[in-house]
């Protein structure tokens, strides 16, 4: 598939840039100093999340590109998506799937910080094969020079994206009510942006939806879905409690797409830029749908665990940390019976102080 004209006009790009700024500002506004400390507190969960996020996701993206025979530029875009850190959207989904929001926030924060090093590194490792393919085809067409992934630009766009995040953190510290407003507005804008991009694509390039091969649809849906499933099973394998399983699962599959848009806009040029943007738009759309379905499912299967968990939390909050909730025999299923983590999850923080 080739995108003949530019996918986005200059005006769209400016709007998109402003949106990215606001969204990242909103992400920062949702963070507090405590969230950074939480990384240490949930180190085990964060580490497992790190493995599935930076270890598995790029690999999955590469595998899907290979199996589905994506064009090199699409493959690079998919791998870029795979290498992204987590975004605030995952925190909202974690909340509604009755997962640990604290862990989700900690993972988002940690992965965003680590991304500056990890993303260039991972792209270098996984995308180099496709880069050579592009260079080869460019040279075959008689073009001069080589195609390279502009790693320097990627790092600088990442840094650029972190600036509004920093500003958001500062705002949160100065004025929590304002920060809350920004946070909500940003969440709302994120949806608007995706719809706006979809709508413009639909209006200007309505042939695009038909000419997009099914492999691309499959790749953009599967990268999120398989990521979510993988995160869930890895967390289960490591015997993490259910609320952590759900948080890690969603954190793995849901990537911070505004960062992807920023990198694509700032580091790549057409015609590759338009193709990459199109893939990012598709991923952003499908991941919301996929995560919504998964969240509804998690809510259902996690209902009982969550009630037990929150009951224990309230008991310890009101009756003291030493209080032990003893359910009647046979009330708890074997799965969580005798699992101390059901009750003590939030307590390590207090034990430290």
């Amino acid at each position: 598939m080739q995108i003949e004209t530019q996918l986005l006009y200059m005006s769209d790009k400016i709007v998109l840039a402003i949106m990215i700024f606001i969204i990242m500002f909103g992400m920062g506004a949702s963070l507090t100093y405590n969230d950074f400390r939480a990384i240490g507190r949930h180190s085990r969960g964060v580490f497992i999340g790190f493995i599935s996020q930076f270890g598995f996701m790029p690999l999955l993206a590469l595998g899907l590109s290979y199996v589905l025979h994506l064009t090199p530029s699409m493959a690079i875009a998919l791998i870029l998506i795979g290498c992204l850190p987590g975004g605030t959207t995952s925190n909202i989904f974690a909340y509604f799937s009755r997962g640990s929001v604290a862990l989700s926030v900690a993972m988002t924060t940690a992965s965003t910080l680590v991304a500056i090093v990890m993303m260039p590194l991972l792209l270098e490792i996984y995308a180099s094969g496709y880069v050579h393919q592009i260079s080869a085809s460019m040279q075959a067409e008689g073009a001069q020079g080589e195609f390279v992934i502009p790693l320097g630009d990627i790092v600088s766009s990442l840094v650029l994206v972190l600036v509004p995040v920093g500003m958001g953190i500062y705002l949160r510290k100065k004025s929590p009510p304002w920060a809350k407003t920004v946070e909500d507005t940003a969440g709302f804008l994120a949806i608007i942006v995706i719809l706006y991009l979809l709508a413009t694509a639909l209006i200007r390039h309505n042939e695009l939806f038909l000419s997009t091969p099914w492999e691309l649809y499959a790749a953009t849906i599967l990268v999120g879905l398989i990521g979510i499933l993988f995160g869930y099973w890895v967390a289960r394998l490591f015997r993490l409690p259910p609320i952590f399983q759900r948080a890690i699962s969603l954190e793995t599959g849901i990537q911070n797409t505004p960062v992807a848009f920023a990198i694509i806009l700032l580091s790549f040029s057409d015609p590759i830029q338009s193709q990459m943007l199109w893939l990012a738009i598709l991923y952003s759309t499908f991941i919301v749908a996929v995560s919504s379905v998964v969240t509804l499912y998690y809510r259902k299967i996690g209902k009982f665990d969550w009630e037990i968990y929150s009951n224990t939390i309230v008991h310890n909050r009101l009756f003291g940390d030493a209080y032990e909730t003893r359910y009647p025999k046979g009330f708890l299923p074997k799965r969580i019976d005798g699992d101390p983590s059901q009750g003590t999850l939030t307590r390590p923080a207090k034990q430290k102080s």
Binding site: I92, Y95, P177, W178, F188, N311, V314, L318, P328
Partner: protein, 643 residues
């Protein structure tokens, strides 16, 4: 886990719950903000047995009536356990009980033993002792209070009973076995409307039948916040239900409610309309001072929620249906609503998650549902909470029906109704003038759905009768059918809708009952007033609709030829206002809640055959219907439009 508790009586229910839920917390009392004291099902039952043994040793007989004058606190439930486990029945009332009530209730119920909450109440009852010839023992609940001579402390009695039990006393266990289903478990005196209070006799079978009536399944993982007075049957049935289900009741108070909701994160609660009005006001105030962007987001979310719910109610047949819906409108509306539902869904999904969830956190964020009762829920408030995603299940009942007759369920959450009747309960809608049964009556189309009439109830929850008042009992209870005194209709989706009162008794939103006739009689003695009708059902205060007397006002110097001119006359208002204040005041023996806070002059006379019967009695429902705008105006700054 097995759900059905096979208990046959309340004492048995306490025993089974203790065996089943053992160490789970049954009740929790607040000491400080984050310092609550739990007691387990097992401990509560054991202490209850100790107390029961102490009471038996003191000479309490089976089926004896024991007064329990206290508001919500742990000792209340302990005292209740003690009373039930020794086979007696309690006579509950709050700590604000008046002298007259104490004297009447204790003497009428032949009370020999009374629990009192605190020192103040103890002193009050000791002062009245001469007028209470049968009263032998007083037991003080408050562990921090000091007892007057001759008064026992609750804890002393418990430890005394405990000693007896360690020595092998099994009298309490024997008592439990001898309880019959038809024995009273409580005798509740309802606040006096006409003359003296009435003692409603409720049996063990009444209460046990109610356990199936509450439509929200709860278990050991649930937390129930208690805020309404437990001596009202409405709150009592919920506490009983939490014991039955193994949930924990957390005692809160009006003062600490907002804080406690945040900390306890209740999953279920019984509630009154006033609570939701207050909550609604708080939420709306919060939104008013919120940032404009957030305010706008809320309004968008609320709008979408309304659209979404409206279509969903229609599609699932949960829209209020007071008339039969023709097939063609159904065929037309069905796809329209389906389309709207589909279009709004994704947007609603987002706004629900991001905006409405934050609003829901004001009720702790864990609420599965709440049953509202004890008065009619204003429709705007009802719609508001159901739209933002807090399912408020409105129920209906009387003390005489222990109390639940009907309640909405999650499946039949029809706003504007009180839901379907609970299992094993029959209802009738009876014409007030002809006494003809309008529903169910196969003579009429749809068995008489949609007809308005007085509601009669028959079922396992209906009381045994009024204690020692057979004539009164016969008036309201015949062949098992209880006359509720409320006007109702059966909707086309089989839910009851309450439409007002058939009796003239006004129940204010704070639960006070009053008879309008004495007030009206007093006011119509005024030369300035021709007719007047007192209003205020389900409102915070009473008001009056007044037809002024033109001649009387002219004597006072107000020159006016027609009623419609008088309506605008300030002097007339002032004169009548002064007259009302003088006639109905505390000095004349009227209670505070009987004071008329607002009134409106009417522009038309009451006419015989329209507003008045041939015997010149007012047709209250006709007047209420005709002047509903005026009434609405009087109460307009209550609730929703509060400043």
């Amino acid at each position: 886990m097995e759900k059905v508790n096979p208990a046959q009586n309340v004492a048995d229910l306490y025993r089974i719950s203790a065996e089943r839920f053992e160490a789970m917390p049954a009740f929790a009392t607040r000491r400080k903000t984050l310092n609550w004291y739990p007691i387990s099902f097992r401990d509560l039952y054991e202490q209850g047995l100790d107390l029961a043994t102490g009471l038996i040793d003191m000479g309490v007989e089976a089926r004896e009536h024991i007064a329990l004058f206290s508001d919500n606190r742990f000792e209340w439930i302990l005292a209740d356990y003690g009373v039930q486990l020794c086979g007696a029945a309690d006579v509950p009332r709050g700590r604000e009980i008046t002298d007259e009530e104490i004297i009447y209730i204790i003497n009428h119920a032949e009370v020999r033993v009374a629990f009192v909450e605190n020192e103040k109440l103890q002193n009050k009852i000791c002062r009245l002792r001469e007028k209470l010839p049968q009263l032998r023992e007083i037991i003080l609940l408050d562990p921090n209070g000091s007892c007057q001579s001759g008064v026992r402390a609750l804890l002393d009695l418990v430890s005394f009973g405990k000693q007896l039990r360690t020595d092998g006393d099994k009298r309490a266990e024997k008592r439990i076995e001898s309880i019959k289903k038809d024995d009273l478990f409580t005798l509740i005196y309802t606040s006096g409307t006409t003359g003296a209070p009435k003692g409603v006799m409720l049996t063990h079978a009444n209460m046990i039948s109610q356990m199936e009536a509450i439509p929200v399944p709860i278990s050991c993982t649930d937390r129930v916040l208690s805020i309404l007075p437990v001596w009202h049957i409405f709150e009592r049935v919920f506490e009983m239900y939490t014991i039955y289900s193994g949930s924990c009741t957390y005692y809160s108070s009006v003062r600490t409610l907002a804080e406690d909701i945040r900390h306890v994160q209740p999953t279920f609660m019984g509630s009154a309309p006033r609570l939701w009005e207050g909550m609604h006001k708080r939420i709306m105030e919060g939104i008013k001072i919120a940032h404009p962007v957030r305010r706008a987001l809320f309004h968008i979310a609320y709008f979408l929620g309304n659209q979404y719910n409206d279509s969903m109610y229609y599609l699932w047949g949960n829209k209020l249906k007071t008339k039969k819906e023709p097939l063609w409108t159904r065929l037309l509306l069905m796809p329209t609503h389906a389309l709207r539902w589909l279009i709004v869904m994704p947007w609603y999904g987002f706004f629900n998650a991001v905006v409405l969830e934050n609003v829901r956190l004001s009720t702790g964020g864990s609420l599965k549902a709440t049953v509202s009762g004890g008065g009619a829920l204003p429709p705007e408030i009802d719609r508001f909470f159901n739209t933002i995603g807090i399912p408020v299940l409105e129920g209906y009942g009387l003390t005489e029906t222990s109390p639940v007759v009907a309640v909405r369920t999650e499946k039949q959450l029809i706003i504007g109704t009180i839901g379907p009747t609970v299992p094993n309960t029959e209802v009738r809608i009876v014409d007030m003038n002809t006494n003809e049964v309008l529903y169910p009556n196969s003579k009429y189309p749809d068995k008489g759905r949609g007809f308005k009439g007085e509601l009669f109830v028959r079922g396992p929850q209906v009381m045994k009768g009024y204690y020692r008042q057979p004539e009164l009992t016969e008036k309201v209870l015949q062949d098992g059918w209880l006359r509720t005194g409320d006007l109702a209709m059966m909707t086309f989706n089989n839910c009851l809708k309450i439409l007002g009162r058939s009796k003239s008794t006004i129940v204010l939103s704070n639960g006070e009952n009053l008879e309008p006739e004495p007030l009206e009689l007093r006011l119509s003695q005024s030369h300035l007033i021709d007719h007047c009708m007192i209003i205020g059902q389900d409102k915070k205060f009473i008001g009056a609709l007044i037809v002024p007397n033109i001649d009387g006002l002219r004597e006072k110097g107000v020159k006016s030829d027609s009623l419609s001119e008088l309506v605008k006359n300030k002097e007339a208002h002032r004169l009548i206002n002064d007259d009302i204040r003088e006639k109905i005041s505390t000095n004349n023996g009227f209670r505070n809640y009987e004071h008329i806070r607002d009134f409106r002059l009417l522009a038309n006379q009451f006419e015989i055959g329209v507003e008045l019967t041939d015997l010149h009695k007012m047709k209250r429902h006709v007047i209420t219907d005709k002047y509903q705008d005026v009434i609405h105006e009087i109460y307009s700054d209550e609730t929703v439009n509060a400043k």
